[in-house]
Point group: C2
Chain length 373, copies 2
């Protein structure tokens, strides 16, 4: 939380997430990880090296690519815990879906479909499980999310970690095993000048920006019960469950449409649009209408447009980079699943320039602002 909340715009560093302190560690880890590549060649498989730094790690076998993702929910369940105390409703069915979504939406960026998703639920004390409604909602929500993601719930881990977690807290995360089969369905980066950027609608804030959102609630007199312009309580809107985009990718690939790239819009917000290693300029001419919760966060932070688009999904949870001819059928598939799709921008090759330009907002993000991917 900011030292002086009223003194200026809230920033990510001020709300406790400081990428500058973490990124050197990530770089060190990535370098060490690359040095392990040879360890599996005796088994007749190999790592797919271009997947390093992408959202899912890939191992190439003779018959398929296998994909592996480890992800965490972040702090969103703290909002649910607060709303449980205020309203009596647990919202952990939504929290479960958020957690599964954050895992499987990373996995599908490479064209992998999830086979198995595992839950990691760490608690500060065994008493966490005494809230039977919350526990049952979590189980039901996780199961429903696996059904939406067309995958199997393949186990999990539920440690009690006294002294590591706060006594009443829970940490949610997990992992997925996925498969790209046949191998031609691999979404390997092959962006080209003139590609269309198709944005798939989010369902609100999803699982990013929640530390910021909580610091805003803390300084509002009515906290999470403060109504949005549409009358819904702020806390309830924050807890709208994330979209699971697996059916869109699954059906796209089955229809023979192979995106040139795909990005899950999470931390770093729309800066994630320039996630691909090769430099391009991403020119966004249209933007979706953000859900009311974003305007509320921006107003009460206050959070500038630059901070908002640089860190939040702002109504767009997933980006597909497509041959323009593939845009109408791709949009139709998304909309068939109830997910609005907006042909919002274009990929341009301008030498070594790497940036995202959001014309309707007069914003630009330079490549170096993305940091470690």
């Amino acid at each position: 939380m900011s030292e002086a909340p009223g003194a200026g715009p809230l920033t990510y560093a001020g709300s406790g997430v400081n990428y500058e302190q973490i990124d050197p560690f990530k770089r060190l880890a990535q370098e060490a990880a690359r040095a392990t590549a040879g360890n599996i060649e005796r088994l007749g498989v190999r790592e797919f090296t271009p997947s390093r730094g992408e959202s899912a790690f890939l191992v190439e076998t003779p018959h398929a690519y296998l994909a592996h993702v480890e992800e965490g929910l972040g702090t969103k369940n703290r909002v649910a815990d607060a709303m449980r105390r205020i309203t009596g409703r647990s919202f952990y069915d939504h929290i479960a879906r958020d957690t599964v979504a954050t895992i499987v939406n990373d996995l599908i960026t490479v064209g992998a479909l999830p086979l198995s998703v595992a839950m990691h639920l760490a608690v500060g004390a065994s008493e966490w499980f005494a809230d039977e409604m919350r526990a049952a909602d979590l189980v039901r929500g996780w199961k429903e999310a696996c059904d939406l993601a067309r995958c199997v719930w393949g186990g999990g881990e539920t440690p009690t970690l006294k002294g590591i977690l706060e006594p009443e807290a829970a940490l949610l995360g997990g992992s997925a095993l996925g498969i790209v089969q046949p191998k031609e369905r691999l979404i390997a980066p092959r962006l080209a000048h003139g590609d269309t950027i198709l944005l798939l609608a989010s369902n609100g804030i999803h699982a990013n920006g929640l530390t910021l959102a909580q610091s805003i609630a803390a300084k509002l007199p009515d906290g999470y019960l403060t109504p949005l312009p549409d009358g819904r309580p702020y806390g309830e809107a924050l807890l709208d469950p994330s979209v699971i985009y697996v059916p869109v990718i699954d059906d796209l690939l089955s229809a023979g449409i192979l995106p040139h790239y795909a990005a899950h819009i999470t931390g770093h917000g729309w800066r994630k649009l320039m996630r691909a290693a090769e430099p391009f300029v991403y020119v966004m001419d249209r933007i979706p209408d953000p859900q009311p919760v974003f305007a509320f966060v921006q107003e009460h932070g206050p959070v500038t447009d630059a901070e908002a688009y640089g860190n939040l999904n702002m109504g767009a949870g997933f980006a597909l980079y497509l041959d323009p001819a593939d845009v109408p059928p791709a949009a139709a598939i998304a909309e068939g699943h109830g997910i609005a799709a907006l042909a919002a921008g274009t990929v341009e090759k301008r030498g070594d320039e790497q940036r995202v330009i959001i014309r309707p907002k007069g914003l630009e993000f330079a490549g170096e602002t993305l940091g470690v991917r």
Copy 2:
């Protein structure tokens, strides 16, 4: 920690881990998870249902079984954090190996070899990364552990979770993607009367019983610096790195030796010996000499033999259940990797009885004491 530490033997419930509160949740989750089995059949693969409840989840493809494990280290790194303050040494190279070991040693129980291991490192504050020695030790240790486990370090997740983790704490865990190939290498339960139980030596307490171990340190005047009978400080002995058993299983399978079952001795200690679903009686006629740290924990807890063997590895980190003819070559393979192997017991069929009998200690654990597997 026990309310009155001097009043009686320390128990697991007293040290903050209460399986009775967690097990109903686990049962609910397992039931919901089973209902997702059909979700992947459209892809020409299926879950290997007998793997539900085992240490690794399996998906059967036409060419291989794919294995998935999600695991956490528990609270062991709190001991390293305390020793960092006392001695200046971080021990996070050992902590990294413990974490990888807890993941891959589960994976190999089904005959799967790890392809990719991902790190999940959650911290309470970004400042955690300011300790550069600790961060570097963690990265180096994780890389070395992946080399020992003959697998690739395939990514990870490093969230900052203010309000969920204690401000100076870190939670370590992760996941693995593994493969059983050719499919004949699957270690599917096929225990038979007369099988030999070959125990592979541990290297100390590994990653189980550390909450108990910490509560003992808290009541010793010299804490982690209290010397063991062999002169080593208690905290240092607790942090001896876990054995990674992957090379043993890999080489066993390559030598054509297929265990009838395999168990990673973790939580529930030697009760894990009766992990298989089919009821058998496991008669242990010999036990390995536990490392000095176990005698110390038992003395200062105090911890009875029943609590110790029921919750700790007591010198045996992994169990192979073998045709007696396979025991000498299997032991030779383990010892070739510097891991002592002891033909310690025998599997007996006695109708529906399920129990572990440890004759040298006069102990018996009935099947129902294992709870949810």
